[in-house]
């Protein structure tokens, strides 16, 4: 069910498939020696047309830990600077590598890559649309820290309009039986109509609010996201909205016991450093789990797990 399948959107996966990914991740974490280097002789290509720290490096680390070699397209040093299309670049990578991880500012580019490439494609983020592997990490982190995803109340805070990690996380939550999802954003950064429409069709219990205090008091998980400056057509609008919500240690003192704060990172000013050394902090754990989850994912897609 995973082998040679393109990973484009979290919506394409069933709960059972995600549970399988999580149990393989458990194995990768608990018995790394048994996992070994099953991808020796394989080449994984990363084609990141947009900046990335954690996603690219954790994919590269994951592939290397499994024994694969990495080739890395550097857009600034490639023929893309001469005007070569992404399409032609991908065709070349498909000839060279066994698996392609792509990130692009254009929505739908991972689907397009999957359409034209014979080898499997993993979406490392396409514009404002999907970031499925981030959502897999987020869900795995919750499962690991809370022992379950079902029955939890989850708040998603920040830029729900342009944030692909937030959108994929929300879609991922719909695969489980969470009790309620709190969507907290200033009105101009409310989720896009198609996301809300899908949630309505799935009969998920949703609270849409601008009141962060109320959300913090009620949720078990607080997923904080950065306002996506780079996606705003008008920077003046960004300046008006930046700092709309700042999650601080003081704000979290109203929280339920056991609340965990997640953030796909990078953060700017929406999540205060004074939360870092509190029991709420789960975002560094989340970032660390990026490697084993992506190891499990790459191994499943290339058919060695």
């Amino acid at each position: 069910m995973w082998k040679f399948r393109d990973v484009i959107s979290i919506l394409d996966y069933t709960r059972d498939e995600l549970e399988h990914l999580f149990s393989v991740t458990d194995r990768v974490l608990e018995r790394p020696v048994d996992v070994g280097k099953p991808l020796e002789g394989n080449i994984v290509a990363t084609a990141f047309i947009e900046p990335s720290t954690r996603t690219r490096l954790s994919f590269e680390t994951a592939a290397k830990r499994l024994g694969a070699e990495i080739i890395n397209l550097e857009p600034q040093l490639s023929s893309m600077t001469k005007g070569e299309s992404l399409t032609d670049t991908l065709r070349m990578l498909d000839d060279y590598a066994d698996l392609i991880v792509i990130r692009s500012p254009y929505e739908g580019s991972a689907k397009h890559a999957a359409d034209i490439c014979e080898h499997p494609v993993i979406n490392g983020g396409d514009g404002t649309q999907h970031h499925p592997t981030q959502a897999m990490i987020d869900l795995y982190t919750i499962r690991k820290l809370k022992g379950r995803i079902d029955g939890l109340e989850v708040g998603v805070v920040g830029d729900l309009k342009y944030g692909r990690a937030a959108a994929s996380f929300i879609y991922g939550l719909t695969k489980f039986n969470v009790r309620k999802i709190w969507l907290v954003s200033p009105e101009p950064l409310s989720p896009r109509p198609e996301l809300m429409d899908r949630l309505r069709k799935m009969s998920v219990d949703i609270v849409k609010t601008e009141n962060i205090e109320e959300a913090v008091e009620n949720v078990d998980i607080l997923y904080v996201t950065r306002i996506q400056k780079e996606r705003f057509p008008d920077l003046a609008e960004y300046e008006k909205l930046r700092g709309s919500y700042v999650i601080t240690r003081k704000l979290l003192s109203r929280a339920r016991e056991g609340l965990k704060v997640l953030h796909p990172l990078p953060r700017v000013d929406e999540l205060s450093n004074d939360v870092d050394d509190t029991p709420y902090q789960a975002y560094f754990v989340q970032a660390k789990l990026g490697v084993p989850v992506r190891m499990a994912l790459i191994g499943l897609v290339l058919g060695v797990f």
């Binding site: 005007g83 299309s85 992404l86 929505e107 739908g108 689907k111 396409d126 404002t128 649309q129 198609e194």
Partner: protein, 161 residues
């Protein structure tokens, strides 16, 4: 039969062979031709009648294309701008077939995604637009690439202007 209706019937039935597209919403006949990719350069005799009286629609347009029988996949596209249209295939002055117009599940390459960040909007990439029909009434399409909705109003705007 009134004088007007008689004239109208004559207009509809008088071609020998070809296709008559009837019950087009008034004012959209030219958009229908454009959507079908018929430019006039193909050499067929084409008659466009606009704003005639119609019991069903109040006013309607109709288009006659001689010596050309439109295929189902061609006429299905018409539901985007002329859901009321009826297609009559004419052979030797007789209506031999009435083709129902049925909205296809997917629309490829006719419409433009409204999201400038969509891969289909990047001129270098040459990716044709693809939309899934999410709702027929009112018409709502979803871009297969970026997931954005294309609402009926925008579809009409793109196809009629």
């Amino acid at each position: 039969m009134s004088h007007t209706n008689e004239q109208e019937t004559l207009r509809v039935s008088k071609i020998k062979n070809g296709t008559v597209i009837d019950h087009i919403p008034a004012g959209r006949a030219l958009a229908v031709l454009r959507l079908l990719g018929i430019t006039g350069g193909e050499g067929h005799v084409i008659t466009v009648t606009m704003n005639v009286k119609s019991g069903k629609l109040g006013k309607k347009d109709l288009v006659k294309v001689e010596d050309l029988e439109l295929m189902a996949e061609q006429v299905n596209k018409l539901t985007l701008i002329a859901p009321t249209a009826t297609i009559n295939i004419i052979r030797n002055y007789e209506v031999v077939e009435k083709r129902a117009v049925k909205l296809p599940d997917r629309i490829t390459g006719i419409l433009r995604c409204t999201n400038p960040g969509c891969i289909t909007r990047q001129p270098m990439e040459h990716v044709s637009s693809k939309f899934i029909v999410v709702s027929k009434t009112p018409l709502r399409l979803e871009c297969e690439y970026c997931g954005r909705y294309l609402e009926e109003e925008e579809v009409l705007k793109q196809l009629t202007q």
